[in-house]
Symmetry: C2
Subunit: 362 residues, 2 copies
Amino acid sequence: MFEFHIEATAANARVGSFITPHGELKTPVFAPVGTQASVKSLTPRQLEEIGATLVLANTYHLFLRPGDERVAKLGGLHRFMNWEKPILTDSGGFQVFSLAQINQIDEDGVTFKSHIDGSWQRLTPEKSIAIQENLGADIIMAFDQCPPPYEREVNQRAVERTHAWAVRCLEAKKRSDQALFGIVQGGVFEDLRTKSAEFIASLKLPGNAIGGLSVGETKEEMFRILELTNELLPKDKPRYLMGVGTPYDIVQGVARGIDIFDCVLPTRLARHTTALRRKDRLNLVNAMFAEDPQPIDETCECYTCQNFSRAYLRHLILAKEMLAATLLSIHNVYTLIKLTREIRQAILNRSFHTLLEEFSAP
Amino acid sequence: MFEFHIEATAANARVGSFITPHGELKTPVFAPVGTQASVKSLTPRQLEEIGATLVLANTYHLFLRPGDERVAKLGGLHRFMNWEKPILTDSGGFQVFSLAQINQIDEDGVTFKSHIDGSWQRLTPEKSIAIQENLGADIIMAFDQCPPPYEREVNQRAVERTHAWAVRCLEAKKRSDQALFGIVQGGVFEDLRTKSAEFIASLKLPGNAIGGLSVGETKEEMFRILELTNELLPKDKPRYLMGVGTPYDIVQGVARGIDIFDCVLPTRLARHTTALRRKDRLNLVNAMFAEDPQPIDETCECYTCQNFSRAYLRHLILAKEMLAATLLSIHNVYTLIKLTREIRQAILNRSFHTLLEEFSAP
């Protein structure tokens, strides 16, 4: 279980296979986000048709509602949301630090106010693991602190805390059918990132993640930190870049050695009337599409592009029909999943440099 | 084209087949409603999987947005909404009289204020047919006036107007690939309904509809009017009961000779967190379902019941996930379509009386 086989490489980019209790993940892989145990506006059947293999769900949200113990009673997250392929849960750390009103951060954990009912709640490394064990995802994440990227002192403390918490997560973990990934923090600071990557690598976990990127820093900074970090993380374990991204970021991330991506971007853009394409975006509310019989992308094989015009999608948007978000989500998620398939094929065919050339600018 | 074959009968109930340019409709048939060229929260693929064969779309809504000429430019309604099976459009009459702010009703037509942008618009029998010809449905409806059921004088004038308008619709109609159905009005008044049914029957249209029922009158009154009207409408043409209904109303309608039904009920209940079952409803927001691992209906073969628990559906509802409406709509529409299939089978098997017995009370 949790073996990672690298099948081909192109410089730092690699094609691999990660074995989980719910099947094989072909990497690079893009995971759509099912925050509350639902990838917004899509059924699991639609996700399967799109080609999704990995779905992310949020520990913070599911802890607060419906509650991890309830999910466990109902047979775990796979059964609950009817997704029989691999699931990854985050640790709750990112949401606590970005969504909740925090009362206290100390060495032991975080006390915060629920954004749902205002109740006081507490997350610690042990609690995060207990929740994630109740949820039962294939890949679970160590509880971490993700501060704004430019504040050195906060990042220094966050790195130390994240390391101590990672050790406690590893010690708290009981289930053998879940892979615990550690998270590298350190903002934009090379020395902190180096220290963090070396420490996380020393834990010899089945996979490693890079947190705290794509949260406000420039692309150049993100890529510099990515290069530095990936150089220090084990080559024989999957590397996961959290919360990324765009087609450009995915191709550039793979080029720097990333295997796993997740992002709310495709489903969030869909709910904001925007279609994602390889190199640009279309905001379908635009009047120029009112009588446009073309699909979003004539080269796209997704259900939406095979069957619906831009004019119809614009009509659904103006008429406030829910189907607009569904059809745009199908297209947007498909676009990113198709891109990862093309990346894998390009690495296998030794033509990844051509794809990289195509994505040389954002 | 538009041949109607009756394959079996059980007293007034019948199993038939109505041939349209987009294929055969097996009757009795239930049509889900796609008001704005979308059956709310469902893709056409999901509708096909559910077994839908006929979809209704609203002339009033599509005339105002995106505009019937625009739909025609984009290849007609089948192409626009990607529904290659039969479509029925209503005449706009019912919506004008129920949704719009009316400025004037005269013998020629109705002037009203759009509920979308407040602009003044006018519908006449000729205009309704022109719009419906632009939309291109297989079954189109004569422009009618549908008044409240208990006001005799208004109903008397409405019947006369509806008759004159039906004749004008027939004269205005140009396309031969659309079946124009007439509409019987007359409220709860037997003499008006008799007069109306006899007049509409005399037009020898390919199908006939009963309007102005299920709009506030009692079940007894509805069934009395239905029995009276169906006795006078041609037996060799399909009969359509507009805007109905519930499982009980459908079974009782078939028993009185109805072949076609449409209703927003299954999709509207779904958006209001309610699951429709043969004999009752479940409001899934109820706390009693919080840890209920059962499907909505354990005898149901729909995608929702085969894959999701009441507990998960309740979670989606509380979390305000769009997927709740989709999964409930799949189940609710399936329930009514499955019922029509069972009705057909029961009539063919000479066991319709047993089904009728099961639905002897609402």
